[in-house]
Structures are given as structure tokens and as C-alpha cells.
């Protein structure tokens, strides 16, 4: 069952109320038209339904989300997928800062570029292994404090003349893995990360998520995978283990 809601002129509180109501009434697909900056879409919703958003959703979209599939036909703003537990987000555009903050499960695919601190403090837990795939470029502090999960950065688009990733990439990282297409200069890395060789297993993980990306956004998977990737992992899981002594 599908329901269409015109978000034009609706305050976020009313709009989210309508969305929650739709799912509680058994609707499986909610289509939102004319979304224009309304925050908190999909927050805290436990459902296996979907939301299709036409327009630009506001900050904290899909925070604490638990299972929905959200497709954004436009750009997303800051803190998309904040502390997300499960579900899929597909953004047919760019996204802002702190995408996937403390995300513990689910997948986020961004067609274009993202801002600062994307994937910050992502975690993994039991069988949950969160994934963010960014098609364009990323700002500074990509994967900061990362404690688990997979970050994939493709650099297919983005602002010309800018590097694929900003400074302090992976600073404080103590878990998880990043795959960045092409080379990353050493000086861009946080002091807790190192570049290591790709294994066959890495190649198959990459292939899996790059094909998904290619399917969502209609591009050539082989062409993306033709360029080698840099694999980044933390030096160890206890970056701050020897920092303190008891009194």
C-alpha cells in the first residue's frame, strides 16, 4: 500500500506525524513530494517499508532509523543516518556533514559528494556491519573515531581541483575499514591509520557494494573498479591504551 503526501508548507512536526501515522496504518511505501528542509524524516521508525522523498530533506534524516528504505530524489543535509540501526538510504545527490554518525547497522549510498566528518564513530555489532558508499568526494575527518563498518569513497564526481578526501582522514580510527579509489597522500591520514594491500576478500566486498552503487545510480561498475583502491585500517584497536597511569 502506498501513500502520497504533499510536504509543501508543512512544519516538520506535522509531516513526521503523517509519516508515522501512515506506517502505523500499514502503509508500506510513503512518497513525499515537495520536501523542502523538513528535519527528522524517518527518525526512530521501525519498519521494513520505504519512504521516497522528492526534494531536499532536512538535517537528521533517518536518525535512530530501524529498517526503513529511504530514497532521496535530491540532496540530503547534515547528520543523515545519525545513530542508525538498520535500513538503507539512497541519496541521488550530495549529502552534508556527519552522514552516518555513530551508525551501527544498515547502508547509505550517496551518489555525489559529502561534507565533513562522514562515518564518524561508525560501529559494528554482532552481525551488523554498517556501510557508507560515497560516489563523489569527502571533506575532512572522514571516518573519524571509526570503530567498525565499511566506508567506500569513489571520487567519481565532486568539486574540481579538490582532493578525493580532506585532511585528518581516519583520525582516531580504531576499527572498521575504508576503501578509497586511487591514491591517498600520506599527509592526509590521521596518525592512527595506515594503508595496506587489498586482499581477495577486500576485492569481493568492494565489488559487492560498487555493483549496488552502480545499480542505484546507473553507472558502469567495471569502469569504477578498473582503478585500484587504497585500503585503510587502524594501526590497532587500542589507540589510547597507554595514555594513562593510575595515581
Amino acid at each position: 500500500m502506498s501513500r502520497r503526501i504533499d510536504a509543501q508548507g508543512l512544519y516538520y512536526k506535522e509531516l513526521n506525524q503523517l509519516v508515522r501515522q501512515a506506517f502505523s496504518e500499514g502503509v508500506t511505501e510513503v512518497v513525499l513530494d515537495n520536501v523542502n528542509g523538513q528535519r527528522y524524516l524517518g527518525d526512530g521508525i521501525s519498519s521494513d517499508g520505504s519512504i521516497i522523498i522528492h526534494g531536499t530533506p532536512g538535517n537528521d534524516m533517518a536518525a535512530y532509523m530501524n529498517g526503513l528504505q529511504i530514497v532521496v530524489r535530491g540532496n540530503a543535509q547534515d547528520a543523515t543516518g545519525n545513530t542508525m540501526n538498520e535500513g538503507t538510504i539512497v541519496v541521488h545527490g550530495d549529502a552534508g556533514d556527519t552522514v552516518g554518525y555513530a551508525m551501527r547497522g544498515g547502508e547509505i549510498f550517496i551518489k555525489g559528494s559529502v561534507g565533513y566528518r562522514v562515518g564518524i564513530h561508525m560501529k559494528e555489532y554482532l552481525k551488523k556491519n554498517p556501510v557508507i558508499v560515497v560516489g563523489g568526494k569527502a571533506g575532512a575527518f572522514f571516518g573519524e573515531y571509526m570503530a567498525g563498518g565499511i566506508l567506500i569513497l569513489l571520487g567519481l564526481s565532486g568539486r574540481e581541483g579538490y582532493p578525493i578526501v580532506g585532511d585528518y582522514c581516519g583520525t582516531g580510527m580504531h576499527g572498521g575499514v575504508m576503501y578509497i579509489r586511487g591514491q591517498v597522500e600520506e599527509y592526509k591520514l590521521g596518525k592512527e591509520v595506515k594503508i595496506v594491500d587489498m586482499t581477495a576478500e577486500d576485492e569481493s566486498v568492494l565489488e559487492r557494494y560498487v555493483s549496488r552503487y552502480a545499480d542505484y545510480f546507473g553507472c558502469d561498475k567495471e569502469a569504477i573498479l578498473a582503478q585500484p583502491f587504497s585500503k585503510l585500517i587502524p594501526f590497532n584497536k587500542r589507540p589510547y591504551g597507554n595514555l594513562y597511569t593510575g595515581v
Binding site: 527528522y40 527518525d43 526512530g44 535512530y64 540501526n85 580504531h174 576499527g175 584497536k237
Partner: protein, 500 residues
């Protein structure tokens, strides 16, 4: 010869004629300060390992044990006290930051001890709480600007409120920092006494969901264990921005303490360091704080009050005003004496301000801006007894959190070694052989007893003031007088000097 500069802090005395070499002390001491010497067939002590937690003293069946300060003095020096000398020794050998447990033990002024409570004489006679009704009930949450009443009923729904039978709650202490048995003790006690305990930032153990209506769940920068069931599980959600013991910094729960149960509750892999970043990386402004507050309200359909916990720091009044305007329903202010499982020593001992001054400043500021009713104020970080609670409420608090005092009720002896994970009282440890020493049923009884005793004392003092409802004491600073305070201190506290 390589000399280790460490010397013992304490010395263990074993009365030879009383000691039966039963070796209970050897088994009880997780620090291994007591050892069995097979050759001599007797129990010996290694003073350097003793933390003075009294576990051995209290479990010794013949009362053979006592502990005192190690009889070693440096040449007296008012500036270079033993603390600074030994700290330098430790840091010179380790290159590490000094780590400490519990709140600061430095002799800063304790303003509670410079405030005196009023009592009625002749006029406005005092009330006997044993025979007359006395109201301690407290509601925490945003109050409306005005009440609309139609046909004797409220015409508009009130914002969600927490209902407390006594104005004392158990402060945020995470599973990881303290044991499950300690948390369970506080949860049961909160349920029994009609108040609340707080999960801290380590998630909610599956066995504690049943105490949900007496639970405040916390959301901190690490977002450990934060998911929809968790947010719905409690009666309120607390955003932790800061902690009195370590304002401005985050926390690290070392991987050794992240066993299976802690990992399941925090929702992270076993053995992984649980790192809480210093800031919430989605909060850089009051507007961003509002965003987090409202994301939590949206995720719980506006059914629960959202609290914001901040450490008492220099500009606390302006910060609290911002938090109120950001939409917080409750503001928790944690003073610089607040406890902790682990904090860098220099931060713990030097950062932040006393809760008494912070509370008075915040209450005055919110009143002057006419927004005091929009938030409830909860204070924490040094509440030691019922008269501290009374004084806090007269200075403007709606309720208090107790953390250190609650743990002492469970057996904590304030040895300040929480960060070692070797708590002999089964509180600040995840070692199963130690945690089993704390029976949650007994712990709950003791924690509830403490609240019961304090509540009686509060009623007694309220009655003495001729007040029969705690509400009439809130922000009633005329019920306080200062003693031994400067004009400036009196003006910040908003109280007159004794004799005035």
C-alpha cells in the same frame, strides 16, 4: 641499581596474636596486597598494593587487621607536597597522564558548609512531620506558561513530566563503569522509592528493561547502545554534554572492561575500546543542541521529557539559558566535585566550578529571563546528605542526583581506584568473582534505606521551617543564611549573611 621510586600509601597491620592464618584476606583482596607464604606458613602483606578499601578489615573474622597511612615523610615543604613529588615520579617513569577515580578530594571551599537553614519560632509555627502531612512529591519537566482550566479539569495537555516521590535520583553511572549488580541495586531501589536511576552512557542491559518506568536513559557522544527500543524503554532521555568530574573531555572505557555483557549492552564488539568523543560531533551550537533534543523527541513521539546534562563551568548561567531555549525540559548541572569511574587527575582537580555557585547563578539567570518554568533544574556533584539536598532546593534546584553517595550505600569505601577494575566491593568492576560480592537485593535495600532516611530528615527540616510542601522551599533563598562568606559569594548565592 634501578630504584623504583614508588612507595606505599598505606601500611597493613596484622595483629599476630589474633591472625589465625585463615587466608580470607588473601581471597578477598583483588589487589593482592595479602599473600600466603607457603614456606613460612603465614599470611604476609605487600603494602604497596593496598588501596585502603577496608575489604580485608571488614571480612577478617578475628578483627586482626587495620590499615593506616604509610609512615614515611618527605622533608616538610608547603609548596612541594608529597602529592606533587610522587606525581612527578609516576609520570617520569610512565610518560602517561595521571588517572583518578571518584570526585576531587582537594580542599576547595564547600559552600554547603557555609549555608545555614532557617527554622520557625513562635510565629508561623513549625510542623511535626510525624503527625501532619508533608509533601515531597516533585515533578520534573517543562511547565506551561499558564494553565487553562475548564470545568475543574485541565483543558490542555501538560508536557510530559517525571513524577518523583522524593527529590533525589540516582545519577548516571554506566554499565561498564559499574557492575550489573550495582545497576540492578539502584534500579530496584528507584522503583521501590518512586524515583529514578540513570543508565549513564553505556546502554541498558536486557535484564533492566523491566525497570523502565523508573529509568532515565542517557545519550552521550559515543551513542553506545542507543537504538529505538532503548529510547522508548525509559521515562526520560538525558543528553550528556558534560560531566562535573571531567568537563570538556570524553571518556574511554578500556577494552579489558568490554566483556560479552558490556559489549551486548553498548552494542560494540567485545574487547573494543569504548571511546566517547569529547563533543557530540553533531552539536556545535545551541541550534545543534536543539536539533538533537528534537530528534529524540521525534523518535519518541514527544512522549518523554528530554534532559540536558552539563558540567558546571565558568559561563554556566548563559549555557543553561541556551539549553533551556534549545528545548531541554530538564537541565542537569554537574558540579566539579562530581564522581567518575575514571578521569584525568589534573582535569578532575582543576576544571569546573562548585555546584552551589553554579546552581544559584543558573536559577537567578533563568528567573531574570522569565524562563525558569520552562525547565526543571537537577543538580549533582557533591550531595552528601539530606541537608545538602534541602540547601540545593532552597537555592533553586527541583531535585538532586546522587552518585557517590549511592555507591557508598552499596559499600563503596571511596578508595578512588575505580579505574583499575579491581573494586573489592563488586561495584566498579566487571570481574565476576568480584561483582558477585554485591547482592542486588541487599544493595537495593541499602540504597532505598538511604533515600528513606534522607526523606525523613528532609521532612523534619521542612517542618522545622514551617513548610509542609517541598514546592514552597524551591528557590526560597530566604530560608538560607551564609556563614563566613564574602559579600561577593553571598551575592552570587543570593543569600543574606547569618544575623541579617
Amino acid at each position: 641499581m634501578n630504584i623504583d621510586f614508588r612507595t606505599p600509601e598505606y601500611t597493613i597491620h596484622r595483629a599476630g596474636e589474633r591472625c589465625t592464618n585463615c587466608r580470607i584476606c588473601v581471597r578477598q583482596c583483588a589487589n593482592e596486597a595479602h599473600l600466603w607464604d607457603e614456606k613460612q606458613k603465614k599470611v604476609l602483606a605487600d603494602d604497596i598494593k593496598c588501596v585502603n578499601c577496608h575489604r580485608c578489615v571488614l571480612t577478617c573474622p578475628t578483627r586482626a587487621l587495620s590499615i593506616s597511612s604509610y609512615p614515611l615523610e618527605f622533608k616538610p615543604n608547603a609548596h612541594w607536597t608529597p602529592h606533587y613529588i610522587t606525581s612527578i615520579f609516576k609520570q617520569a617513569s610512565s610518560g602517561a597522564m595521571l588517572l583518578a577515580g571518584m570526585g576531587t578530594d582537594k580542599p576547595y571551599p564547600v559552600y554547603w558548609d557555609h549555608l545555614l537553614i532557617n527554622a520557625s519560632q513562635v510565629t508561623n509555627p513549625s510542623i511535626d512531620p510525624l503527625r501532619e502531612p508533608m509533601e515531597l512529591k516533585t515533578f520534573l519537566g517543562r511547565k506551561p506558561d499558564s494553565l487553562k482550566i475548564e470545568n475543574g479539569e485541565l483543558a490542555e495537555k501538560l508536557p510530559p513530566q517525571l513524577e518523583l516521590e522524593t527529590p533525589i535520583m540516582f545519577a548516571a553511572m554506566s554499565f561498564g563503569a559499574i557492575s550489573l549488580n550495582a545497576m540492578t541495586s539502584l534500579a530496584i531501589a528507584a522503583e521501590k522509592m518512586g524515583t529514578f536511576y540513570n543508565t549513564g552512557e553505556g546502554g541498558l542491559h536486557s535484564s533492566l528493561y523491566k525497570y523502565g518506568k523508573n529509568t532515565i536513559v542517557q545519550v552521550a557522544s559515543g551513542r553506545f547502545g542507543v537504538h529505538t527500543d532503548y529510547l522508548w524503554a525509559g521515562s526520560a532521555i538525558e543528553i550528556k554534554i558534560g560531566q562535573g568530574a571531567k568537563p570538556g573531555i570524553g571518556g574511554h572505557l578500556p577494552g579489558e572492561k568490554v566483556g560479552l555483557d558490556v559489549s551486548l549492552t553498548r552494542m560494540i564488539p567485545e574487547g573494543s575500546d569504548a571511546i566517547s568523543p569529547a563533543p557530540h560531533h553533531d552539536i556545535y551550537s545551541i541550534e545543534d543542541l536543539r536539533q538533537l533534543i528534537y530528534s529524540l523527541k521525534e523518535a519518541t513521539d514527544y512522549s518523554k521529557p528530554v534532559a540536558v546534562k552539563i558540567a558546571a563551568v565558568h559561563n554556566i548561567a548563559a549555557i543553561a539559558s541556551g539549553a533551556a531555549r534549545a528545548g531541554a525540559d530538564i537541565i542537569v548541572i554537574d558540579g566539579f566535585r562530581g564522581g567518575t569511574g575514571a578521569a584525568p587527575l589534573r582535569t578532575r582537580d582543576n576544571v569546573g566550578i562548585p555546584i552551589e555557585l553554579a546552581l544559584a547563578a543558573v536559577d537567578s539567570r533563568l528567573r531574570s529571563e522569565s524562563i525558569r518554568h520552562q525547565v526543571s533544574l537537577v543538580v549533582a556533584g557533591s550531595i552528601r546528605c539530606s541537608s545538602d539536598v534541602i540547601k540545593a532546593i532552597a537555592l533553586g534546584a527541583d531535585a538532586c542526583y546522587i552518585g557517590s553517595a549511592a555507591l557508598m550505600a552499596l559499600g563503596c569505601h571511596m578508595c578512588q581506584k575505580c579505574y583499575t577494575g579491581k573494586c573489592n566491593w563488586g561495584i566498579a568492576t566487571q570481574n565476576p568473582s568480584l561483582t558477585k560480592r554485591l547482592d542486588p537485593v541487599v544493595g537495593a535495600e541499602r540504597a532505598a534505606n538511604l533515600l528513606k532516611a534522607w526523606s525523613h530528615e528532609i521532612k523534619e527540616m521542612l517542618g522545622g521551617m514551617g513548610i509542609n510542601a517541598l514546592e514552597s522551599l524551591r528557590g526560597n533563598r530566604l530560608m538560607l543564611r551564609g556563614i563566613g562568606l564574602t559579600e561577593k559569594e553571598l551575592s552570587i548565592l543570593g543569600v543574606k549573611h547569618a544575623g541579617e
